[in-house]
């Protein structure tokens, strides 16, 4: 059943992505309903999978890299479902679907690992890990919004905008959405650190340093944006690169967590 719900989620995201490609290829940009529905069904199937895993392991279902990636892709999809319509960010689903699908496929392709319930004795550790991943989800969606900004800015600079230009949101809205998402991610990551301290986790070692590095990078980005030193393009680029780095470091942190 777990595997079926996981495959169902992947198929939903695949449909969303395929539909996007087909629609864009045909010159249609009104993706709205189908795309959103497919993403919502994908997230629902993932929720069911995570629920089943959580129930069988009696802990937050992030006990190996595969589960961690699924939790992350679920966080991104969920935040998109909340943020996308609120901001009227048309086409955001088109940019989110490939990222969510990629994470999901990697998770599916990873060899089956044993679920390590390393935080079962302490709920604060569980909160710490879950908050970290939801923060990553917010950073992931900020990266999506940042990439949309770069595409739209490129269209504006080109002075010969392609049809997609008319359907992408204004750069100011994208910039604002990116900033808010980074703030959300940053606050969640900070809370995750606080819960880590409450759980008496070690404030030294590789895992702590890598996590601190990510926190510091986002803090620096927010500080530079607040002080008006970052243009929209640099801000969006920094957010996209920071998430790429966070994504690269995620398996490392996950491995180090398992040993902790």
């Amino acid at each position: 059943m777990e595997r079926i719900s996981l495959l169902a989620a992947t198929l939903c995201y695949l449909f969303s992505f395929g539909h996007t490609l087909y629609a864009l290829g045909a010159g249609r940009f009104q993706l709205g309903r189908f795309n959103f529905l497919a993403m919502a069904l994908g997230a629902a199937a993932q929720t069911w999978y995570l629920f089943l895993r959580g129930a069988s392991e009696h802990s937050c279902p992030i006990g190996n890299l595969s589960e961690t990636l699924i939790f992350l892709s679920w966080s991104i999809a969920l935040i998109y479902l909340v943020i996308g319509p609120a901001y009227r960010l048309s086409l955001m689903g088109a940019f989110t679907a490939p990222l969510v699908l990629l994470l999901q496929i990697i998770a599916l392709l990873l060899p089956g690992e044993v679920h390590v319930s390393f935080f079962r004795p302490n709920p604060w550790v569980e909160t710490h890990a879950a908050l970290s991943l939801v923060a990553y989800g917010a950073f992931g969606l900020a990266c999506v919004a940042g990439l949309m900004f770069l595409v739209q800015e490129g269209q504006l600079k080109s002075r010969r905008p392609a049809p997609i230009f008319h359907h992408l949101p204004p750069i100011s809205i994208l910039s604002e959405a990116t900033l808010r998402l980074v703030w959300i991610g940053f606050l969640l990551l900070t809370l995750s650190f606080v819960s880590g301290i409450l759980a008496h986790l070690a404030v030294a070692g590789g895992k702590f340093l890598f996590s601190l590095l990510i926190w510091l990078i986002y803090a620096a980005i927010l500080f530079a944006a607040k002080s008006g030193r970052l243009s929209g393009r640099r801000f969006a680029t920094a957010v996209a690169l920071a998430f790429l780095l966070a994504l690269i470091l995620l398996p490392v942190i996950e491995r180090l967590s398992g040993r902790a």
Partner: protein, 324 residues
């Protein structure tokens, strides 16, 4: 055609022998009568007489019977028969005409069905094709670009450098979208003051325009300067005052006021008159390419409507559209 005259006119149209129902569409670009009638040619004569009385001259008319009249209305409501293909204002006008006829009790069952169907067709055409895609005039292109940079224009400030006619029109387009304020600066201060008074803006001496640079979001430039006045060297220090806020520069001058390389500067978006016109032409091209898809959609709907007409078995089934 004034709104208050419509009821009386519809009454007169219905008094034409053989006409059971009528909807009158009157815009700045067309006068059309849609009527259900058993004797279309007699109805046409009656309409011609009424029109001649009103206009005082023999108006040139053309007319369609079903199914061409049905297709014509669907095309009109979808904006395919408009001067600017795909414009959407006409749909509101068609709705208003139908509403007036319905209120006056002049719309018969086939006309009700016909117009409801036409609104549905117009919606389908709009959502399933790109017939309304993109702006089609320099002013509307500027407005769309500004919208794609700033989102809402309500808090945006505009500066006009050089009080030319085209910059005035562009500023008015932006004003129609609610920009917060407009500053006009011209080498001749009196002309700046004159234009500022006309559009409800504020005049500024040309020597002082750089001082307001940090506060503006959109710069429309159309001076008669023989060389570029907006160069990277001049703009770079001013941009620092803007705390990375974007700047939209619309260069309408010939020769150009802005050095093209300022478009490479971060946060600066430069469009000259050629690029604005090119975008408008591009949008029109897209719309023209979409016409075939629209016609095909309309054909399907005409077929659907005619099928419905066959089911009602009413002798009251002729629709005529006439235009002057």
């Amino acid at each position: 055609m004034r709104d208050n005259e419509m009821e009386e006119l519809l009454g007169r149209l219905r008094s034409i022998e053989g006409v059971s129902g009528a909807v009158m569409l009157s815009t700045c670009n067309r006068v059309e009568l849609y009527a259900s009638s058993l004797c279309p040619l007699r109805a046409l004569d009656g309409f011609r007489k009424i029109l001649s009385e009103r206009a005082g001259l023999e108006a040139p008319l053309y007319y369609h019977a079903t199914p061409e009249a049905v297709r014509h209305l669907f095309r009109v409501a979808s904006g395919l028969d408009s001067m600017v293909i795909g414009e959407t204002e006409i749909l509101g006008q068609v709705k208003k005409a139908y509403s007036a006829a319905a209120d006056a009790g002049a719309a018969t069952r086939p006309l009700h069905k016909l117009f409801q169907h036409a609104f549905h067709v117009a919606k389908s055409v709009r959502t399933e094709t790109q017939i309304t895609s993109g702006p089609t005039s320099v002013g509307s292109v500027a407005v769309e670009l500004a919208g794609k940079i700033f989102g809402s224009l309500k808090e945006r400030r505009v500066m006009i450098l050089g009080a030319g006619e085209i910059s005035e029109r562009t500023a008015r387009s932006l004003q129609s979208r609610g920009v917060k304020s407009v500053i006009v600066s011209n080498r001749t201060y009196e002309r700046a003051a004159e234009l500022a008074a006309e559009i409800g803006g504020m005049a500024l001496h040309f020597d002082h325009w750089e001082k307001s640079f940090a506060d503006i979001d959109i710069l429309i430039s159309s001076t008669n300067a023989p060389h570029a006045i907006l160069t990277p060297e001049k703009i770079a220090p001013l941009l620092k005052l803007r705390r990375a806020a974007p700047l939209f520069v619309i260069d309408l001058a010939v020769p150009r006021d802005a050095d093209p390389s300022i478009n490479e500067m971060e946060g600066v978006f430069l469009y000259d008159i050629d690029s604005l016109e090119q975008i408008a032409a591009q949008s029109l091209d897209i719309r023209k390419q979409e016409v075939i898809r629209c016609e095909s959609l309309i054909d399907q709907h005409v077929g659907g409507f005619l099928s419905w007409m066959r089911t009602i078995h009413s002798p009251d089934q002729h629709h005529i559209g006439r235009m002057a």
